[in-house]
């Protein structure tokens, strides 16, 4: 198994240097993905890559499919933020589209619940 060990060492050594993604994926969010929280004043997403503001968007929808955010999204570096009005109890859907500065596009959704 010496050959397999050697290859494993090479691969793991190389891989240890690469801990991000060239595509912009969601790293974490506030409110956190799938969390139950008091009514937040905004949704903020931290992505894994810097974003191209002109082509990046974030929206928040209620359970009826109506957009509830204030449509004032701010994109800076690897983060995107959109403000919210006072939300009532319920489950809300966050939809995002991210275009990284190298033009790679990704999209995603997640939910959070307001108590």
């Amino acid at each position: 198994m010496n050959s397999m060990r050697l290859l494993l060492i090479v691969i793991l050594t190389v891989s240890a240097t690469s801990l991000g993604r060239a595509h912009a994926f969601l790293d974490h969010a506030d409110p956190r993905v799938g969390s139950t929280v008091a009514a937040p004043s905004q949704v903020e997403l931290w992505m894994t890559e810097d974003l191209e503001p002109a082509f990046t968007r974030i929206q928040v929808f209620d359970s009826q499919g109506g957009e509830v955010d204030k449509k004032d999204a701010k994109i800076s570096g690897a983060t995107m933020i959109v403000s919210l009005p006072k939300l009532g109890p319920g489950t809300y859907l966050v939809k995002w589209k991210a275009v990284a500065t190298d033009t790679h596009k990704t999209t995603g959704t997640f939910k959070f619940t307001v108590q």
Binding site: N2, M4, G20, R21, A22, F25, G34, D102, K105, G108
Partner: protein, 328 residues
Amino acid sequence: MPISSFHLRAAAFLAAVLALVIVSDRLRAHGFEGDRFFPPTISTDDPFATDEYSIGVSTFNNPVAPDGSTPKTREIDVSSEFDKEIFPKFALGVTGTYTNLQPQAHQGPTQDGFDNVSFSAKYQLFEDPAHEFIFSLGGEIDVGNTGSSKLGVDYFSTYTPEMYFGKGFGDLPDAVKYLKPFALTGTLGLSIPGETSNADGSLNPDDVEWGLALEYSIPYLQQHVEDVGIPHPFADLIPVVECSMTSPIDRYGGTTTGTIDPGVMWEGKYLQVGAEALIPVNKTTGPNVGAVLQVQIYIDDIFPKIFGHPVFFNDENDDENNSSNSNK
């Protein structure tokens, strides 16, 4: 066992490829359907017609041939596959494998050489991003007599029309939300040899080639279902169980052979690294558990002007529906 020149050459080649990736500052490819990223699986083919390059190393012990013509043999394969999207959702590929055969118990000399070259085609026929579903058609041609005669490669070509599918379970109800990160991909094909019999009178059966891959995506869990606080690098892991089977259907082809392959894939910035055990399903398949390591390299990010889009009819708005290839 000492490291042979074959092993060193294989390691050097792999290191050179990885070094090429490291110096690049961009990367990544592959198939998306809705929120789902389908990673390229190791033992079975994924349903996406994308620009891909992979290199893999596997080791496995082959059993003694039923007629005693070949001894128990340790086989090490270094395989490489390149796929290029030609038209939107249609890709062509080529696969080469360098094989090292080591007869056990000193029953013969070690043999090295290339296996037959294989060409493939794939078309993404149907996609439903909302339900994370994709269905593709394609096939492979294993071109006879293109490999090393020392390995006893087939002198005839083999034709395998195939279908492929992928289904993510993100559309399950929230009541079972922790099942949403599961995804299933599979292939089903009919392998048809160009010659039904050989000069020694032995027969070449038609085979049903089938495989499945069941995976649980930690990235999907954290990004789309619930951030449970799993830190990197564990947040980048995708545990997987694959099976890859061959079932002869005529000409006294014998029993089904294949392996069950539990393993894990790690999604990095520049590549995917996967490892699996190869557990034979019966004695006919093999006497021992094997192993495979695979590195998937996203060439469209290394050479974005060349790869990551079809050669013809490139549609810049193709991913507006959040499906298919990510690199447009």
